[in-house]
Symmetry: C2
């Protein structure tokens, strides 16, 4: 049995390790806002349960079992977010905090029903992929808008951060998933971009914003 607390550690570690395959106690501590000694002892405990690979002074890794458990929690989180947006009418900026709680509900029937009512969605409202019932997830193949060049035409596929403030900023610019974006110019000094999409012909986005926006180049046929 994995507690709610343990689930939050697993999920966060999964997200941190998805980049380099490993993470430090320090990073995990900062991410969870829990002091290092607490994180350290929890890592030992999760290692005892076969979910984490822990060796003194070495970076943390998830075991295959740990990865699967984490992915299943993330599955519940993302299915929930999708349900809240699609079936209940919440905005994409509201659903993350609610899903942080609902992801811990223990009821396969509940999440199977959500999955079914949504028609087995592949991505959540932020464009992140939803792991399947076995914990398998397709890796995202997107690129950052900040890495694109003047003249590029790209499609807005996902955001890498789902804070209320950031998503409200995008709402204010009517910048939503699926929008086709033309990069009109890019300031090399600070990375600010001038872009156009839909009815909005000229919007300025800071590099900070562009780094959180994931896109694909338009398909060439």
């Amino acid at each position: 049995m994995i507690s709610q607390t343990e689930e939050n550690y697993l999920k966060t570690l999964f997200n941190l390790t998805s980049l380099k395959g490993e993470a430090s106690v320090n990073e995990l501590s900062k991410q969870l806002d829990i002091k290092m000694p607490t994180v350290n002892s929890m890592m030992k405990r999760l290692a005892g349960k076969g979910l984490v690979v822990y060796e003194s002074y070495k970076p943390l890794k998830l075991t295959d079992k740990g990865k699967k458990e984490a992915a299943l929690i993330i599955r519940k989180h993302r299915l929930t977010e999708m349900y809240l947006v699609e079936k209940m009418g919440f905005g994409w900026e509201e659903v993350h905090v609610i899903a942080e709680q609902l992801e811990h509900v223990q009821s396969p029937a509940f999440f199977n029903k959500i999955d079914e009512l949504l028609g087995f969605p592949k991505v959540d409202p932020h464009g992140s992929p939803i792991p399947d019932a076995h914990g398998k997830m397709e890796s995202e193949q997107y690129i950052k808008l900040s890495d694109c060049q003047e003249g590029d035409v790209v499609t807005f596929m996902a955001v890498t951060h789902s804070s209320d403030a950031f998503l409200k900023f995008l709402n204010s610019r009517e910048l939503s998933l699926g929008k086709v974006i033309r990069i009109k110019s890019k300031e090399e000094f600070d990375g600010t971009m001038e872009i156009g999409y839909g009815k909005r012909k000229s919007e300025m986005l800071s590099q900070e914003v562009c780094e959180k926006i994931q896109v694909t180049h338009e398909k060439k046929k």
Copy 2:
């Protein structure tokens, strides 16, 4: 801040005290399946938070604050049950266990949305009243089917127990809320009743079942 554990104590104490206005540590212990010393110390804790009136060797009572908190948890529980049945297609026998978890979600926006999507329902799928946003609940004015007499014609308004087994039994007899029931005969020895409703002209119900069924007499105009 009231923890999930404390919420379950409050809710259970609310249900127990709704009959006589007070309850014993022993009753609460049995209901929660938690040993008496644990319940005892929790009662002191909740008394410290101003939610319970605790005096050594005296029956337990909820304070007004405790009653309100409990009613608001019950509100979330019952709204959730209604949503699961009406909007997600669950059977009334499935929803109680799921609602036991969802009732602890801390998100006014979530439950306000549910309330709104349901059109501000007054009762849950088991016929129990849903407290309003201030924790006010109309007391049920129903009578037990087991207290009715031969020849009575009554309407099935609520069940007093929502165990999976009991509700599945009612499902198997197509006996659902709103059905008009005619009492064809009543065996005085053991309280068994022969009733008719809808297409079912003769069904035998044990006293145990009849005691869990709440009805109203047909309105006389």
